[in-house]
Symmetry: C2
């Protein structure tokens, strides 16, 4: 007989359904924002949904049609949230731009995305005034404030006032039934080489990501939570929290521009925040402030830390001294962004505490919806033994298949099966599925078929008392093809020899992994965001021979 269909209702997975759900079933739950204007603003999911409908009407009145891109340069706040839902919900494509990029990059990105409208916070008025002449497609500039805060004079022509635009609409608007595979938002990755590339998400991928990120093995979001996303709404859509927060009807606390320890701590306490998420550096500032003032949290229970690896000492301090559960997470823009989170399973219940802690420091297990593998340079999958390191590849419901405006496919094959996205990371996976990043693919040292992690070697070198900064790069080797070269900036006044440094590695790592040589330099080059520029370093040592 022929195939048979299920007889279920058709409910497309749309971003509008998230905010409708929150407004209908958690309508009185608060959305609290620390405004750029300086004060605290309070609304509810019901208020957000009503104003989002007005935003949809206002954008249509500005001439936006299905598929048009609406850009933002904005902090975490209720107006930004309204634009999230008002744009995507009405069939437009939200494009959150990272204001920390160089102005030329911002203009390049806005032009590549062909943004129609740019909405921005007061903080970014000087930036936009500078940018405006370079924006080739933007037809409307909307300042996200009220009439009272509009500038008396601005070189920008036809600068629109967000609150006025929104309040001119009556909200009598029904969310359209869109194709769930339609584009909903676009985020650009800031690659270290070449132009940024756009990841263009769909309604379906966003809703499935919201489901995946809400489950207990991921962020464990619930209606009982008060969520403060420290991660910016311009950084991979605040890791999806504006969506998962609506899915569960959580109270949201949006911190605006001030992310210093004092501002954050006061918001955490005033609003009884239970859950937060951000990169490691944010927690550093918060903990420093709390320690200096001998403060404790009264409601804060758990946090997701991602973006870069969380130092074990920070995990320990948060857990042991402040009673905050740390959930180590890994993902990337191309993954919406959540891939793995480090959460124990029933199989690890009986392990000693330090072995559990060791697992929690890894990047963790994938959520259902994502699959991963590690492969060698020929695309053969490697064993999940916790030791074999390989190129980490992923696939799944919220992983990109291709980049916006780029015809070439980024995907690779695993054991001949196509359709995997190469993350650019090198990782191990153990038998229980715990993944650990050991390096970036381009930084790993490939010595006679064996891979050596540059990060492992750097961590050891940095522990030497005479070392101020260390970087390990590959140097050409006649027999082994590549061997590790340790590049070191010594501490001022410290004297240390090549032999002493190389001897320092003994017993800490396998003999064949110890660097072959040390190069002492006065300075190691860094990117604008403080990362070591290994590309530049490799360039500098390209003629070096072991």
């Amino acid at each position: 007989m022929t195939a048979l269909n299920g007889q279920m209702m058709h409910m497309p997975l749309l971003i509008s359904s998230l905010v409708r759900h929150a407004a209908r079933h958690a309508g009185q739950t608060e959305i609290v924002s620390k405004r750029v204007e300086g004060d605290i603003h309070r609304t509810t999911w019901s208020g957000i949904e009503r104003r989002s409908r007005q935003v949809a009407q206002a954008l249509a009145r500005l001439g936006c049609a299905e598929g048009d891109r609406v850009a933002t340069l904005a902090w975490n706040g209720y107006r930004h949230l309204e634009i999230y839902y008002g744009s995507s919900g009405s069939g437009l494509v939200l494009h959150t731009i990272n204001p920390r990029l160089f102005p030329e990059q911002i203009a390049w990105i806005a032009n590549d995305a062909a943004d129609s409208v740019l909405c921005f916070d007061l903080s970014f008025l000087p930036l936009v005034e500078k940018l405006a002449p370079a924006l080739q497609t933007v037809r409307h500039l909307v300042l996200m404030t009220d009439r009272a805060h509009m500038p008396a004079a601005s070189p920008l022509e036809n600068l629109l006032c967000y609150d006025e635009l929104v309040e001119a609409e009556n909200g009598d608007y029904a969310w359209p039934v869109l194709d769930e595979n339609a584009a909903s938002s676009i985020c650009y990755t800031s690659g270290t080489t070449g132009h940024p590339k756009g990841a263009i998400y769909s309604h379906r991928s966003t809703v499935l990501h919201a489901f995946g990120s809400a489950i207990p093995d991921a962020m464990a979001c619930s209606g009982r939570d008060v969520i403060l996303p420290v991660v910016p709404m311009f950084h991979v859509n605040a890791w999806g929290l504006p969506y998962s927060g609506a899915l569960v009807g959580a109270k949201l606390v949006l911190p605006g521009p001030h992310l210093d320890g004092k501002s954050l701590f006061e918001l955490f306490e005033q609003e009884r925040v239970t859950f937060s998420a951000g990169v490691p550096t944010v927690w550093l500032g918060l903990l420093t402030y709390m320690k200096a003032n001998d403060l404790k949290f009264s409601s804060f229970k758990r946090t997701v830390i991602g973006g870069s690896a969380c130092p074990p000492a920070m995990m320990k301090t948060l857990q042991d001294d402040y009673g905050v559960e740390v959930i180590h997470a890994w993902g990337m823009t191309e993954m919406s962004p959540l891939g793995t989170l480090s959460r124990l399973t029933s199989r690890q219940d009986a392990l000693p505490k330090d072995e559990q802690q060791h697992l929690l420091e890894k990047q963790g297990r994938v959520i259902y919806g994502v699959d991963m593998a590690i492969i060698d340079d020929e695309g053969r999958s490697l064993p999940w033994d916790g030791k074999s390191a390989g190129n980490l590849v992923v696939r799944g419901a919220w992983v990109i298949g291709s980049y916006f405006n780029r015809p070439e496919s980024p995907l690779v094959s695993v054991d001949g099966e196509p359709g995997w996205f190469p993350t650019g990371d090198v990782a191990t996976i153990d038998a229980d599925g715990f993944m650990q990043i050991t390096d970036r693919s381009k930084d790993v040292i490939k010595s006679g078929g064996e891979w050596i992690s540059s990060i492992d070697l750097e961590n050891i070198a940095m522990a030497h008392p005479a070392v101020h900064e260390a970087a390990v790069i590959s140097a050409k080797h006649p027999k082994w093809d590549e061997r590790p070269l340790l590049v070191v900036v010594a501490k001022p006044g410290a004297a240390v020899s090549r032999e002493e440094l190389l001897g320092f590695f003994e017993g800490k790592i396998a003999k064949w992994q110890i660097p072959d040589d040390v190069a002492f330099v006065a300075e190691i080059p860094h990117t604008a965001t403080g990362k070591i520029q290994k590309l530049k370093l490799r360039e500098q040592f390209k003629d070096y021979r072991l």
Copy 2:
């Protein structure tokens, strides 16, 4: 400009992806079964997936083709789980039949579904021997056991041995990429009137339901959990736990046929069960056994109770005396089945304990994916004030649009908007979205435009010391159209008057809701499953006039 699509990978929501995920990322996690044969059997998610592939091969070898129905009459066990995944995963449609139905009903259901294969546990051999001649479409009978336990002689021709069929296959099978809207399983409701009706789920609805049921506001399933579904796998697919368990890679403990207090308690303790789900009566047996033997749980943390309302006293005992969190849930076969669960939100954090408890005793809030409304008999929506009672209607991603083999649509409109499924329940909803069932639609008494809950009146009457059983039905009334009639079976030896009983209601309920009359009877009719047959009772009193 024209609409723009997202550029995400295409990953259809298929049931095979659940078991593949569990096998790949929680492959060593155990599936423990108490077998019909009497012993404990241990396998893993990896083992389940491998055998499911063999089941898929075996079913294909038996001639099953995409869309064919594979029926089961089986307890909770690993073979049943293998058939779940082996059938649906390969494009066949799993049809779990409730063995507690009358044999004629089972035959009717199997014929209506046009089942091709029937797999059954040893316990049901006598039943199937009796049924077989009435099965019009079943081509193969498969006994779910090994060769050693096959009967020496059976009137059944060509009785097949499950383990032999499975073990004859090599497992070299790739799960097909199906349309996610294809049928995956079918469950029949046992209506009180007319023939049972089939709800036919899709892969998509099943996977979305698994996501929805795993989030913290629902069942909060994780890889840390050891889940023992007491709810049978023939009862709305064990409320989806075989799917959500795979989605999170939880350890499953499948209890087989023995659900008495002693058997369950021993399994809970031996396997360190953390989470369970079932109807109230199961917990009654378990608690009675534990109390009699002065036992406590060592790992059991929370349970979902649904199927019928959980008595507040049982909730209290489980929570206060045994430290088990009780999650009150409501749903129905037509909803896959989960609709609402009673979980507090941040808005209720500061409420006094007894007010929180009162909320937890309600049926609760919907999960994202489901929407609900209450309407009057004209389809107008009623306010969410916690007082107005109306017909409860639902819609959503895992709600049926129509019944199998039934051309007529069951759906109704709300304020003129079509597409809502009428649940047959009467409920109130409060401003925070907490729903409470107050009656069945057909049992509510409609008195002069006001609705009176028959359940409320019965609960009051049952509290009178002389009352053995009470049922309230509507009786025709010249002025008010309907008025409540209290039908009572007095306790043996007890004497109670009409006046005393009616007086007993005073102060307990609004005066206009007090029944108009009392009818004393020797017996109240019941269904096979012990429910009061109000239909028969109404028939019995159809000429009664107030």
